[in-house]
Symmetry: C2
Subunit: 373 residues, 2 copies
């Protein structure tokens, strides 16, 4: 009998983080009697007088929102990091107990005045406004004293700890490079310096070096549509359920034609294609289970716009990409729990990335709420 | 101004995994308007005719449970890994796409016939039966052909993906050492070979080598009760909210008097003390928010009883310990979400481990349901 990834349990390797995932494809069939989730309400008001993110309304700190027309940024009222360069840490109480002060800032970016919309409903030009705002905050925070890393992200849906459906994301800027990007940066540098790789026609990084993400994306787009893990692609961007996906419908979204260190390096056309593919992906996600699809997503790129990324700087091999981590597994109300075995041992998934990609490819791009019934 | 860990955001280092956690102690004060959890029902039947784990009842696969009196073990009807040594993986389609077949087995251990009990209600002798069953399954599975790792764990509560309140845990046995224990094993070995450590009176590992966990536990128990992170201790075991805890009320439970590679190495007395501290911890956990406290917990130890752990074998510096990862943050219905920033960048917590330990220390040990009202 031949090895069949849809039948035989196996583990896959994530070259970006060095971690593994256990794939148990036959397991998606088991009956589910556990906790079910409350799907996000879809009959929201266009303007909600009680929403602290709607135009003109009052926020927690007592501030009043402008009557903004596109996007709006403000400092998080309950920021996880604070700007003051706090006092130095005291001497460590024991050599195993290490701590370092962290400073920084947390911003909230409102994506649009409409309370009832998400990226799936936003017209493309409005998504372009969001991208411009991401660029602006990344530039501003990245230039601040002591900031070494800017993380742009969105928690969407109550399932992902989001407490307000009004479309918004966050940006946390820190005086340290956090663990996850640190691992990815290291893997990308290490890969770029490998000399044992087979020849490939994939676009190269600076200095003609091989680039981990470009190499992977190039391989995926070169496969016949039904064989690989590509869900969507356009002239510049590709959305793929990566070989090493942990979450059932995880997506890696990346430009695949040339090396691009950050969103500030995108041409106008690449930005337009970025907005378009974000919109398409959001609609397919919603259509998968006919619900407002919950996820956490975020941008990995050059830690800050001023990080040393010249020809052979420390960060020169980073390639811009986004991760989407959605928890739903089988329906609008049945999620994947990454719990006991996953926390103690290793992430485990219940369908193959190829199966997930095929399901997302089969989804319509007309939003389910816009279909004539 | 001096550095105050309860005011100043900082990050701490986890020497077992090499990861960091961002501590934002001031953040626990923010109001919560997001998803709330349904506390686990506490008026369960002692015997539930519809429960597939109760004595005498039928299971999914059509089998009938024995009229067991203490514990019962069976093979998971929807196992994530399968015993057949499946076919070898095909040649990799690309050098970045690595997969390896995994074989193994998944067992379910029922802790007790009473449907409505958890570790918090189980009499100590019954917890000793659970420990004996853990030892038995670990011995049996660890001796099977090709098995390299046995993970004992429990998902407790619907919040942790558990679909049946009847007290039970799981054991997944695999032909590979998973990512998390692999990291911990490496850290423990590396620590044991360090020659730059300050002198300490902590118990040593084999060959007189320093032992990471014994060293840490010894330091914690040597601190005045109000200063450290110890929640509970007895003659042999200590339960501590580790310096690097990610989950709000995370616990590291470990024997601290001598080097112990696995549960099979525990003396009778140490097993009794193990049962006692498990019971005490479970009651304090329930009392914290007056609810059946959800968590995932698991045992980290020698990968299998026959793994090479002699004086300087590959695994000789592993010290037995358990991790408890509970999601609740502020009440029976408000959990911590480790989402956007945590998934994309780094785990973040909202109170210090010292504050968490103090709150658990302040909890009664009489179970809240047993108190005269
Ligand atoms: O095997 P169970 O209890 O049905 O399943 C539960 O625990 C497993 C191991 O942690 C997880 O993979 C599942 O997502 C979770 O629902
Ligand atoms: O800042 P928010 O949206 O209130 O909070 C949410 O996102 C944060 C960043 O991922 C998490 O730390 C919180 O647990 C989550 O509830």
């Amino acid at each position: 009998m031949d090895f069949d990834p849809t039948i035989h349990p196996h583990r896959r390797h994530n070259p970006l983080t060095g971690e593994h995932v256990l794939v148990s494809p036959h397991r998606n069939k088991r009956p589910w009697q556990g906790q079910t989730e409350q799907p996000q309400s879809t009959d929201l008001l266009q303007y909600d007088p009680n929403c602290y993110l709607c135009p003109g309304n009052a926020r927690a700190g007592g501030h009043q929102n402008e009557a903004y027309e596109h996007t709006m940024v403000f400092v998080n009222d309950f920021a996880a990091v604070l700007p003051s360069p706090g006092p130095a840490a005291p001497p460590e109480p024991h050599h195993l107990l290490k701590a370092e002060p962290v400073q920084g800032g947390c911003d909230v970016i409102i994506f649009h005045p409409r309370h009832d919309w998400t990226l799936a409903q936003l017209p493309i030009p409005d998504i372009e406004h969001v991208i411009e705002q991401w660029c602006a905050v990344y530039t501003k925070r990245g230039a601040e004293d002591g900031i070494k890393y800017v993380q742009i992200f969105e928690n969407k849906g109550s399932l992902m700890g989001c407490s307000n459906p009004h479309p918004h994301g966050q940006v946390w800027s820190l005086s340290e490079i956090p663990s996850e990007p640190a691992k990815e940066i290291e893997s990308q540098s290490r890969y770029a310096s490998r000399t044992d790789l087979p020849r490939s026609d994939a676009p190269k990084g600076p200095g003609g070096r091989p680039n981990l993400i470009l190499e992977y994306a190039y391989f995926e787009v070169s496969l016949p549509r039904d064989e690989g893990r590509v869900v969507l692609k356009n002239e510049h961007w590709v959305a793929v359920v990566p070989w090493w996906a942990v979450w059932p419908y995880e997506i890696l979204l990346t430009p695949y034609h040339r090396h691009i260190p950050s969103i500030l390096h995108l041409t106008r056309e690449e930005k337009g294609a970025f907005a378009a593919i974000l919109s398409q992906l959001a609609r397919r996600y919603d259509n998968l289970f006919s619900c407002s699809f919950a996820y956490s997503m975020g941008i990995h790129q050059l830690p800050t716009p001023t990080a040393p990324a010249d020809a052979d700087g420390e960060y020169s091999d980073i390639h811009l990409h986004l991760h989407f981590y959605p928890p739903l597994l089988r329906s609008a109300s049945v999620r994947k729990f990454l719990v006991g075995f996953e926390m103690l041992a290793e992430p485990q998934r219940d369908l193959t990335p190829e199966q997930a990609a095929a399901k997302l490819r089969a989804c319509d791009e007309v939003h389910y709420l816009d279909r004539p019934s």
